[in-house]
């Protein structure tokens, strides 16, 4: 039985073979700017519209990932991807140009770990040998779809987050590498009843706390078993709340907790409470955290990508924001082929 407890999958032999990241100008100027594979200094990324720019980012992340994994698109069995836009256009149009069977996924900003978890399950279950996952977001496409035109003067509160422009791709195989995916906890949709779309940190924190707790329960573990527990995009507001929520449940994560949204930008960049978006968790995990793991800074980590499943229409109808979080455990495998960090 590979199902442990209520909602956690335990994998035998699944490895992260390679990853690829592509980012826009704000992220390139951030503290992790050096760690990304492809860097654009123009928000348009040389394309005509924002949507095309986002598609280009995903394409480039995938290209780099395939190149580093030393495979071609024809070798991949399945492609799992998703993004933030309506009808997942970025993922669908990227898949159009790839000769790979495709499963589209939507988990808002949790898509990065959702695709990684499902991809690992496919590989571990023998349904695929190699799975490619990808996810992307773009500040301007998200802004114009979820909020207002980019040039509209609207004052944003301190709790607002700044959507990361970028894309991350990962290649999952059975072939040994430096990084083993050992388990994944699929989250439940949790709705805390909050209605402010400019404060997604407080809306998503309960979902993140629920998934992390369930993960500990299912595997009989505690926060001390992980060198790092990292959430996707809870930002300055939500990261404090999730620590408090876990503390109330008896889990002390204060020493080994961090949030991708806090790592991706410098405090002096005008990004309000921090980064968010599908790409936030993807580029920080694939670009930065894995390299730190390679250096030996930590041996294992629990990555919990959080997603606010909101829609502007539902917000206008005064509905609350449902949220979800998926966790994936990545461990440094003792010996393996050299990790291609490029």
């Amino acid at each position: 039985m590979r199902l442990a407890g209520k909602q956690t999958w335990v994998f035998d032999d699944v490895y992260l073979q390679a990853t690829g990241t592509a980012v826009g100008p704000f992220e390139a100027n951030g503290p992790l700017g050096e760690e990304f594979d492809v860097v654009h200094h123009d928000l348009y990324c040389g394309e005509k519209t924002w949507e095309l720019a986002e598609r280009r980012l995903m394409k480039e992340a995938i290209d780099v990932c395939l190149q580093k994994g030393n495979v071609t698109a024809n070798d991949i069995d399945f492609f799992l991807a998703g993004d933030l836009l309506n009808q997942n256009v970025t993922a669908n149009y990227t898949a159009r140009d790839l000769p790979i069977p495709f499963l589209c996924m939507f988990g808002a900003c949790s898509t990065s770990m959702e695709t990684l978890a499902v991809g690992s399950a496919l590989v571990d279950g023998g349904f695929a040998r190699q799975v490619l996952t990808a996810t992307s977001s773009h500040n301007a496409t998200a802004e114009r779809q979820f909020r207002y035109p980019t040039e509209l003067g609207v004052q944003k509160p301190k709790s607002a987050t700044f959507t990361v422009t970028g894309a991350g791709a990962a290649l999952i195989t059975r072939k040994k590498s430096r990084f083993r995916i050992t388990s994944a906890t699929v989250g439940r949709v949790i709705d805390a009843g909050l209605k402010n779309p400019l404060d997604m940190g407080s809306a998503m924190a309960p979902a993140a706390a629920h998934t992390i707790e369930q993960h500990f329960l299912d595997l009989g573990r505690s926060p001390a078993d992980y060198d790092l527990i990292v959430t996707g995009d809870l930002s300055r507001v939500g990261s404090v709340i999730v620590k408090e929520l876990l503390m109330e449940a008896g889990y002390d994560v204060t020493v080994n907790y961090n949030d991708c949204g806090l790592m991706v930008y410098r405090p002096d960049q005008a990004t309000f409470a921090g980064g968010s978006g599908c790409a936030c968790c993807a580029v920080v995990t694939y670009g930065h955290l894995l390299k730190e793991m390679e250096k030996g800074t930590f041996r294992n980590m629990l990555v919990v990508a959080t997603g606010a499943l909101l829609s502007p229409t539902m917000m206008q109808q005064k509905q609350s924001i449902p949220a979800i979080a998926h966790g994936v455990v990545i461990e440094a495998a003792g010996r393996g082929s050299r990790w291609n960090i490029g």
Binding site: L43, A140, E143, T150, N196
Partner: protein
Amino acid sequence: MEYWIAFFVGGLICGLAQFIIDRANVAQIHMVAVLVSFGAILGALGVYDSLVSVAGAGALLPMSGFGYLLVKGIWSHGTEQGWTNIGAGIFQFVGLELSFTIVLSFFAAIIWKPRG
């Protein structure tokens, strides 16, 4: 002196609006709609007329001035010809500004791309 009055009246409307936006958690777009309606009502009561004569741009530039000018347009058009004339003059005083904004926005969209 006129500059100070314009500064204080215009500033006060903006400051008050900002306080309501923050305190009552109103969206800024909603605030503008409320302000326009408010200006129209004050215009109908005859209050805004005297405010404009005192504060000039300080009363005309906030969007309440827009509502006031709409009402002024309707009322100044006269209703001697009966009810069919009620809305006829609605854009008499803001028609120029409105068309100018639309035309400029259109040409701006031809020339420039959004910068994000």
